[in-house]
């Protein structure tokens, strides 16, 4: 498949990647292009609206949903480097707009072509990283929305298995929430801290050099806790490793 004939893929960067770690967006573009996609980044995108959605502010969420639908529904696929934001588009929008005769069907149509990036690469594009090597040990945390809403489980592991020298170590309780929960960690910081404290201990217990996951919110939570506890574990988004960009700074390392 040549680039010109590949599917037209819109990258939904996510507000968190946009502000906090642009490298994830560039890693996404790199692998999507390697996989044969024609990648576009629509300029009119901002946020999927999840903070409003999870706060019960349905009116604002609907307004943002309509904006996202308008900007993204002309593409073959919408790909998101976050299971959580992808889940909001794929499940939240159709639920919220179900009774809307105009936007309901459009939300459903967009939901049908919205994917989390690692599952898209494997399930849709049949992508395998080639010639990538990373001499390190790593453990992987299954971010909840990716796992339970977007069916992300085997795909990142399959991609990581294709990287030379990377030794994967199983994480005890890999499917247990890290305690981020978006607004939850701000509303109930002490409870969130208890949860992420247990997660950080489980990560440390693997003895791995790297922690990988597919959602920047969860990664910031775990990386922030690990750093506060004095851990040496370095944290990356899985797509950075797949794109061969784990030679750069980890989350929380100066550029």
């Amino acid at each position: 498949m040549t680039q010109a004939s590949g599917p037209r893929v819109a990258l939904f960067v996510t507000c968190l990647v946009d502000a906090m770690r642009p490298r994830i967006g560039f890693a996404a573009i790199r692998v999507l292009e390697e996989a044969g996609c024609v990648v576009e980044v629509p300029e009119a995108q901002t946020c999927c609206g999840q903070p409003a959605f999870n706060s019960g502010d349905d009116a604002d969420t609907k307004a943002l949903a309509r904006q996202v639908i308008s900007v993204f529904d002309g593409y073959d696929h919408v790909v998101v480097p976050s299971g959580s934001c992808a889940g909001t588009i794929a499940h939240g929008y159709p639920e919220l707009l179900a009774d809307d005769p105009v936007w309901g069907p459009r939300a459903k149509a967009l939901a049908g072509k919205t994917r989390e990036i690692l599952s898209f690469l494997v399930d849709v594009m049949g992508y395998r990283p080639e010639g990538r090597s990373l001499p390190a040990s790593a453990t992987y945390h299954d971010s909840c929305s990716g796992l339970r809403e977007m069916g992300v489980k085997a795909q990142p592991r399959a991609l990581l298995a294709g990287i030379d020298g990377l030794e994967m170590r199983p994480l005890e309780g890999a499917e247990v929430c890290c305690g981020f929960g978006g607004t939850f960690c701000v509303k109930y910081p002490a409870i969130s801290n208890g949860i992420v404290g247990e997660k950080a201990a489980a990560i440390e217990a693997t003895g791995a050099d790297l922690l990988l996951a597919g959602d920047l919110g969860c990664l910031m939570n775990m990386a922030g806790k690990l750093h506060r506890e004095g851990s040496k574990v370095r944290c990356f988004h899985t797509v950075e490793v797949v794109a061969g960009m784990a030679d750069g700074p980890a989350i929380g390392e100066a550029e």
């Binding site: 019960g56 305690g179 992420v196």
Partner: protein, 473 residues
């Protein structure tokens, strides 16, 4: 102090209760012991039951069918229960349910009643109502016996005393049993409880039980236990009173068994409870034993209102407790911190129904939306969706703090204007960058909740969009 009621149960607001619970390391040990075992055993039981997914689907369908035809099944149950010789009473709310039970106890001249574990009894406030009526109440479930000695409420719907370690229970028994247990190993403590309770079983005037199922086509009620205490509660006394929520109906015994296969595996990881008993009417001529009167109090208490709103799916709940066993929040704070009758995810959905949203609006927000509760729910209740529905109501009813509403409103207003949003996020990122050194930011105004416990990665400088447009693609 091991035998004082847990302080978190008394504090006025959720955050305070949660904070007290988080500081209690003994509580955390107790929670971990029980929930880890429950999780492991459930996983093994489900793994050994290849048709589990089909059984869940059937369980969901049975409950949905009953909920859709509730009037029909209630009438059928009443007719058949009455024909069996039981008397059916209807209670619209908790106050009416309490009044009926207390009246029945008084009519029976009861001085002492035994009670087998029933969360509905807790929901309607029966323990306090009996105390106010001057009637001695004897909890016969071992865990309920423990919390009765401690003067507490259940912290879990399956293991009411799960917040207490063995060591704390040994203290309670030493002080509460006369004579005290001969030793503090579990065997000796159980023997001591059996000795204390056995006298009470035989001396009770009324036995009060709940029901796991109400069987419409026979008019029977069904209780399941692992201790046999329900049988000793419902058989020797002259009067047996059942209190049950109207959502406990199933069409037939076969349907009850279909749900039992889900309930037991999801609750304890067993295949079957030790005791599964169907109670159908009072003692008949020729019966060796049984009560002279059987009363069934059917309690609505908000349930029929749920039929018509977005919480209807919650009526499927069979009270297995799997959602709380698998909840990261419950596993940090335990059940008392929730402050309602029912804790954990199912409690966070039900407590606003029972106690009002204004008093309990913190609960639907005390959830990370990770979806594990729905993943393990044996009747596929979309718990995160229902919790989000409460959040929506709380927002619409103006119960959320003004600062939160204003902040989120402003953010959403900006997010709908992409060019302004770019400008704002670019400035925000630069401001955040100025607050840190190296790769991290140690403290951030308005984000103290985050930085109290963890560091915040320092943004790399320019936003993705700025870099992308700048041609670094």
């Amino acid at each position: 102090m091991s035998d004082a009621p847990h302080a978190e149960a008394e504090a006025p607001d959720f955050k305070t209760r949660a904070g007290i619970a988080l500081a209690d390391r003994t509580l955390k040990i107790a929670i971990d012991r029980t929930t880890n075992t429950a999780e492991t055993k459930r996983a093994a039981a489900v793994g050994a039951f290849p048709e589990f997914e089909a059984a869940r689907e059937r369980g969901r369908a049975i409950k949905d069918h009953v909920i859709a035809n509730l009037g029909h099944y209630l009438e059928t149950f009443e007719r058949n229960a009455t024909a069996s010789g039981a008397k059916v009473h209807w209670a619209a709310d908790d106050a009416e349910a309490r009044a009926i039970v207390v009246r029945l106890c008084r009519e029976a001249g009861a001085r002492s009643v035994t009670r087998s574990k029933s969360m509905l009894g807790e929901e309607i406030g029966l323990p306090d109502a009996l105390a106010e009526a001057g009637i001695e109440r004897v909890e016969t479930d071992l865990a309920e016996h423990i919390i009765q000695l401690a003067g507490e409420h259940p912290s879990h719907i399956i293991w009411p005393a799960m917040h207490r370690t063995r060591e704390q229970v040994a203290d309670l028994f030493r002080e509460g049993h006369v004579p005290p247990p001969s030793a503090e190993d579990p065997g000796s403590m159980v023997r001591s409880a059996r000795r204390v309770l056995r006298e009470k079983f035989l001396g009770a005037d009324v036995g009060i039980s709940g029901a796991n199922f109400l069987i419409a086509d026979t008019g029977a009620t069904c209780t399941v236990t692992n201790e046999g205490n329900a049988e000793l509660t419902t058989t020797p006394p002259r009067v047996h009173i059942v209190t049950a929520g109207i959502e406990k109906l199933v069409p037939s015994t076969a349907h009850a068994f279909a749900l039992l296969r889900l309930l037991v595996r999801s609750a304890t990881g067993g295949e079957m409870t030790q005791y599964t008993t169907f109670h159908r009417g009072p003692k008949r001529p020729g019966d060796a034993d049984g009560p002279e009167e059987m009363h069934i109090v059917l309690v609505d208490n908000g349930r029929s209102r749920m039929l018509g709103d977005e919480f209807r799916d919650m009526l499927r709940c069979i009270r297995c407790g799997a959602c709380m066993n698998h909840c990261v929040v419950y596993r940090q704070i335990g059940g008392h911190a929730y402050g309602g009758t029912y804790p954990g995810p199912m409690g966070a959905v039900l407590t606003p129904v029972l106690d009002g949203l204004a008093k309990s609006r913190d609960l639907p927000f005390a959830c990370t939306m990770n979806g594990r509760c729905a993943e393990v729910c044996p009747v596929r209740i979309p718990l995160p969706t229902l919790l989000r529905a409460w959040r929506g109501r709380s927002w619409r009813e103006n119960l959320e703090p003004r600062a939160m509403r204003a902040g989120l409103g402003l953010w959403a207003w900006v997010a709908r204007r992409p060019r302004l949003y770019r400008l704002a996020s670019g400035l925000g990122v630069r401001a955040l960058r100025l607050m840190g050194k190296g790769g991290w930011v140690g403290s951030v105004p308005l984000a103290g909740g985050w930085t109290a416990y963890r560091d915040l990665p320092r943004p790399s400088g320019k936003t993705f969009m700025e870099q992308y447009r700048g041609g670094r693609k």
